[in-house]
């Protein structure tokens, strides 16, 4: 049984290779779940890191990993039969609201992982109309191209598919278009991707008085709000988040400005990224 206590060693049941960089590992086990929650994934002898639950059904779940560093490359190299340790789920997950009519979902790169189950849930439960904007470096980095019923607005940095440019350009345009018909344009905007992108989404939403929710990423140790590794301003990302709404973001000192290194030192976000690249 998977719990928040000791990691449970479970078998990777299946693997989807999306591209050389992305793979989804599936585990045939039940786990409690709300879109936006994450698990701690342990590879004995290597490390333990947080990953969003990107696929979920009552008897199976999956995580999608982008091969970046030592751990994620190791994770992506695993296949059916290999064992990983899982504890969780942790975090608050997205607030899906009640009676939303129209929402926007804005995904940048791997940020699609937490948003995908949210989109699916909205699309099955006579939920709101979902306007999905998905961006990536280039075509091969676009996650889950055929996963959703509704089609998405695509954009890539290099123009290899869809609009060449930023997801935020499309969001602004859409808000403008819709504002002509109805106010607010969206009842909620959900976003996940690079923090700079989420900050832009937040700013856009503030200007148009649309509430939004973003999912943050920080270095994590415990996953349950004790060790302080993931603190961002007055928020504990693993416990109060990873999803934060507009109200919280307005007072969150370190949002889009600082993150803590493993040492606990707060540094500007770009320096944090550099450290993560070592």
């Amino acid at each position: 049984m998977i719990t928040q206590l000791m990691p449970a060693m479970v078998k990777v049941a299946d693997k989807d290779v999306h591209s050389p960089e992305f793979a989804t590992l599936y585990v045939n086990q039940h786990i409690d779940f709300k879109p936006g929650q994450f698990v701690m994934v342990w590879i004995p002898g290597v490390d333990e890191k947080p990953y969003t639950i990107s696929h979920h059904s009552p008897e199976r779940f999956g995580i999608t990993v982008e091969a970046k560093g030592l751990f994620s490359r190791k994770a992506v190299s695993l296949g059916p039969g290999d064992k990983i340790g899982i504890r969780g789920p942790f975090g608050n997950g997205f607030n899906m609201g009640i009676g939303h009519k129209r929402v926007a979902v804005v995904a940048g790169g791997c940020g699609m992982a937490p948003l995908a189950p949210l989109v699916e849930t909205f699309q099955t439960d006579k939920g709101p109309e979902v306007f999905l904007i998905q961006g990536a470096r280039s075509k091969s980095f676009l996650l889950y191209p055929d996963r959703f019923a509704a089609k998405a607005e695509i954009c890539t940095d290099d123009g290899s598919k869809g609009y060449k440019g930023f997801v935020t350009d499309i969001l602004v345009q859409k808000i403008k278009d819709l504002s002509a018909i109805s106010t607010p344009a969206f009842d909620m905007v959900y976003a996940c991707g690079p923090e700079i992108m989420m900050a832009k989404v937040f700013d856009i939403c503030e200007v148009h008085s649309i509430p939004c929710q973003v999912s943050l990423e920080r270095y994590m140790r415990c996953g349950f709000g004790v060790c302080g590794a993931c603190v961002c301003g007055h928020a504990v990302v693993c416990k109060d988040g990873p999803v934060f709404g507009s109200k919280m973001l307005r007072t969150m000192a370190d949002f889009n400005t600082r993150a803590l290194l493993k040492t606990g030192q707060p540094v500007p976000l770009n320096e944090y990224a550099t450290w993560r690249c070592q």
């Binding site: 206590l5 490390d47 590794a229 030192q265 707060p266």
Partner: protein
């Protein structure tokens, strides 16, 4: 529930345990606003340290095992934090550690100048091979480090002890004799180890880790009880305190302030407000006061 501690007025008798929630102003302030009278910063070391690889903290259900490994920016790399903390409206304790008396002195002198309200010496952390614990299990070395640090700091000194000491009361007395203004007890117990039998490997990357939370409360209560008999300086009692009744228990053993760490896991950051309320409710029902019950378990029964 105001209380005077070494000359400072605290709005509640509850302390945030060092190493829990880190040392950034915004989060410490939030803890203080939620009913913590005295937040303690994460222990600050002599040099930058990343700590151990994950897993570093595991919840065992009735407590945690952790080997975070004393991560620290290093005392020279915290200007930003001190800057922010300089206009704070709440009191803080800066916790420090070192690998030698010299390192302790170096870090303490520097940190003292940054204006924390108290300095706590972590001579008791079990999660690093070179740092800390070695002092806290021996009375002479505990005395030496406290005496040396005392000379170079300008704020009250708290010595934080480990339950791994064969006789914690003797260590506490040595610290008092060396000039410590208060004792903090206890740091994590054990150390312990948990092995995942499927992968046949210790779960913590560092293999061993300190135990905290409800499962160590009887050890913490015993330590505070022993220390209370051997020193006359105040004691910050912690180790598994989660409820008002737990707090009352360790106060009856002799604690003046009560620390909370792991309970943040089980009851959230609002644990401080909850415990304060539970303490004052209990005191009201029993028509008594913190002062009256302090050390009460040392008086003859009935």
């Amino acid at each position: 529930m105001q209380i005077n501690f070494l000359g400072k007025n605290l709005h509640t008798p509850l302390v945030l345990a060092s190493g829990v929630l880190g040392n950034n102003k915004a989060i410490l302030e939030r803890v203080w606003e939620n009913g913590c009278g005295l937040p303690t910063m994460k222990s600050i070391g002599p040099a930058p340290r990343e700590g151990h690889k994950n897993p570093t903290v595991i919840d065992l259900g009735n407590g945690l095992i952790n080997a975070v490994g004393l991560p620290s920016p290093g005392y020279l790399n915290m200007e930003e934090e001190w800057q922010e903390l300089s206009d704070r409206v709440f009191p803080i304790t800066a916790s420090i550690y070192g690998g030698s008396v010299e390192e302790f002195v170096q870090v303490a002198a520097f940190v003292s100048a940054k204006g924390p309200d108290f300095i706590e010496l972590n001579i008791s952390c079990p999660n690093s091979d070179q740092h800390g614990m070695v002092f806290g299990v021996n009375a002479q070395s505990s005395h030496d480090v406290v005496a040396a640090v005392k000379k170079v700091i300008h704020v009250p000194l708290i010595a934080k002890l480990t339950p791994a000491a064969p006789d914690i009361a003797t260590i506490a007395k040595a610290c008092e004799d060396a000039g410590a203004d208060a004792i903090c007890a206890i740091n994590t117990a054990g150390p312990g180890m948990v092995i995942d039998i499927e992968s046949r490997s210790p779960v913590l990357a560092f293999k061993k880790g300190g135990l905290s939370g409800p499962m160590i409360k009887p050890i913490a209560v015993r330590c505070v009880y022993d220390i209370f008999r051997s020193v006359s300086i105040p004691i910050i009692g912690l180790g598994g305190i989660s409820t008002g009744k737990d707090a009352i228990e360790i106060i009856m053993a002799g604690a003046t302030l009560v620390g909370i760490g792991t309970a943040v896991r089980y009851r959230g950051i609002t644990v401080f407000d909850k415990v304060n309320k539970e303490i004052s409710d209990w005191l009201a029902v029993h028509d008594t006061s913190m002062e009256e019950i302090r050390g009460a378990a040392h008086r003859e029964a009935l």
